[in-house]
């Protein structure tokens, strides 16, 4: 009997990489090859660091929090996390200042009305959620993968910051795909860096395995089993997990805090709710809701 594994044999097939990548690497090698009495090794090492810090497919370049009342949410999170804001360029929205990655807030009804208006098939009752812009290497190929996996995607849309498409996954969760320009910013930290940073994205959906299959086929990200039938994507920044059993899909963000006991007190005194902090393997966590009932987590990591 023939060994079925023989079928895996893969003859070497040359594939041309992205031309800009090839040119950048060539210039870097030419530099590293230059005769020099010092710093040769450190140059190549810092070049490698630069490469590993580049945005990768599955990372997020921007996250917007969709909240019922924008002004009220601004006040609440300023009080709890010390956030300050600047107005966003468009719509009833604001950008959170001083974050380790781009984070914004937008009014749920205005944003969903706008998206429905441009044809995005959102479910009828969209919950407050975090809405991510997820990095893809090739937006056209990613659009095809979203559609092939049973999701919905708009056509590609060129913006000053890159090429984007609005998407809805196969369980009704909205997200954007973003092909960032080559010189785009470094990847965000895996779990935030400073007090108040976005540290984690918890994707709550009816069916966790279905979400894992959808996002691994669209973004090629690796998932590993998490707790209670959930799945974690440890390679993406910020780190993301999928949990099943939700009646309606929503993404619940975790924010990083220096002192969780004090932060929990601030949540409660600002009119929100917070569970008693619990020690987890990665840090201390509290499940919270703001004064409008929007869920979030605090993590002392």
């Amino acid at each position: 009997m023939a060994d079925p594994f023989e079928a895996l044999r893969t003859a070497p097939t040359p594939i041309d990489p992205d031309a800009a990548f090839a040119a950048r690497l060539r210039a870097r090698l030419a530099r590293a090859l230059q005769p020099s009495d010092q710093g040769e090794l450190s140059m190549t090492m810092s070049d490698t660091v630069e490469t590993t810090n580049r945005l990768r497919q599955g990372d997020m370049t921007y996250v917007a929090l969709w909240v019922p009342d924008l002004k009220r949410a601004e006040r609440f999170y300023a009080e709890v996390l010390g956030w300050t804001y600047q107005p966003a360029p468009a719509g009833p929205a604001s950008l959170v200042q001083g974050q380790s990655m781009q984070l914004g807030m937008a009014e749920l009804s205005g944003t969903t009305n706008y998206l429905r208006g441009i044809g995005v098939p959102l479910p009828p009752d969209v919950q407050p959620t975090a809405y991510p812009a997820v990095v893809v290497d090739d937006v056209d190929a990613a659009i095809r993968r979203v559609r092939a996996a049973g999701g919905w995607s708009s056509e590609a849309n060129r913006q000053p910051y890159g090429v984007v498409a609005s998407c809805v996954d196969n369980q009704g969760l909205a997200f954007t795909i973003h092909q960032a320009p080559q010189e785009a910013a470094a990847r965000p930290p895996a779990s935030g860096a400073r007090h108040g940073d976005l540290a984690y994205m918890a994707v709550h959906v009816p069916d966790a395995a279905r979400a894992r299959d959808f996002y691994s086929s669209v973004f090629g990200v690796r998932f590993e089993p998490g707790r209670a039938g959930g799945w974690n994507a440890p390679d993406v920044a910020p780190m993301t997990g999928v949990a099943g059993g939700a009646a309606q899909p929503t993404i619940v963000p975790m924010f990083r805090v220096n002192d969780i006991a004090a932060a929990v007190e601030r949540v409660r005194s600002a009119g929100g709710t917070a569970t008693v902090p619990v020690h987890e393997g990665y840090g201390i966590r509290s499940e919270c809701a703001d004064d409008q009932g929007v869920r979030f987590y605090l993590g002392q990591l």
Binding site: F5, L8, R9, T13, L29, A30, T44, R56, E224
Partner: protein
């Protein structure tokens, strides 16, 4: 450098860059076909080429500039990557406890579907993926696989048995999922 240990540094640089131009699609193609992600393939290609430059500067033992030399470095970079990934995963959970210590292997008579086999490989633990890639995609003899992953022949054979079992299980599960 083969035959020209006295070559001037400028000439070495020129010859390396000429090799880079001709070999890049082979190195990138090798890595992309095995890791499946363009960004990761680019990253590992960079690591490969930078390591080649470092080796060239040391020139110990004398290096023969060729595509096969670069693909050999790429193979080590890929295995290093999977090793790092494996370490991260092991720090999160104990893989050993999930593996049978004395696995028995049944004969498996199936015709593997190329695309599905590739998807299955991507789902395996890094050390299984690594050993199956070297043995079957790269078609290396077991002794060479042992050399690349830096294990004894016996340990490599045992790892291959476990990896084939894990593959079979994942491949069949995927088949069930696709049918259901």
């Amino acid at each position: 450098m083969s035959g020209q240990p006295q070559a001037a540094k400028g000439e070495v640089a020129e010859r390396f860059l000429a090799l880079y131009d001709s070999a890049l699609p082979y190195v990138y193609g090798y890595l992309l076909a095995r890791c499946g992600r363009p960004v990761l393939a680019e990253e590992l290609t960079s690591e490969t080429m930078l390591a080649a430059v470092d080796a060239l500067k040391r020139d110990e033992p004398p290096i023969s500039l060729s595509t096969a030399w670069l693909v050999g470095i790429a193979r080590h970079k890929l295995v290093d990557y999977w090793r790092r990934l494996g370490r991260e995963e092991r720090s999160l959970r104990t893989i050993a406890s999930q593996e049978p210590s004395e696995p028995a292997e049944d004969p498996w008579d199936v015709h593997l579907d190329g695309v599905r086999a590739r998807e299955t490989l991507e789902k395996l633990a890094p050390q299984h993926r690594s050993v199956l890639t070297l043995r079957y995609l790269d078609d290396l003899p077991v002794a060479e696989v042992a050399d690349v992953i830096d294990r004894t022949l016996h340990a490599t054979e045992a790892l291959l048995v476990r990896a084939r079992l894990a593959f079979k299980r994942a491949y069949s599960e995927q088949e069930d999922a696709n049918c259901g």
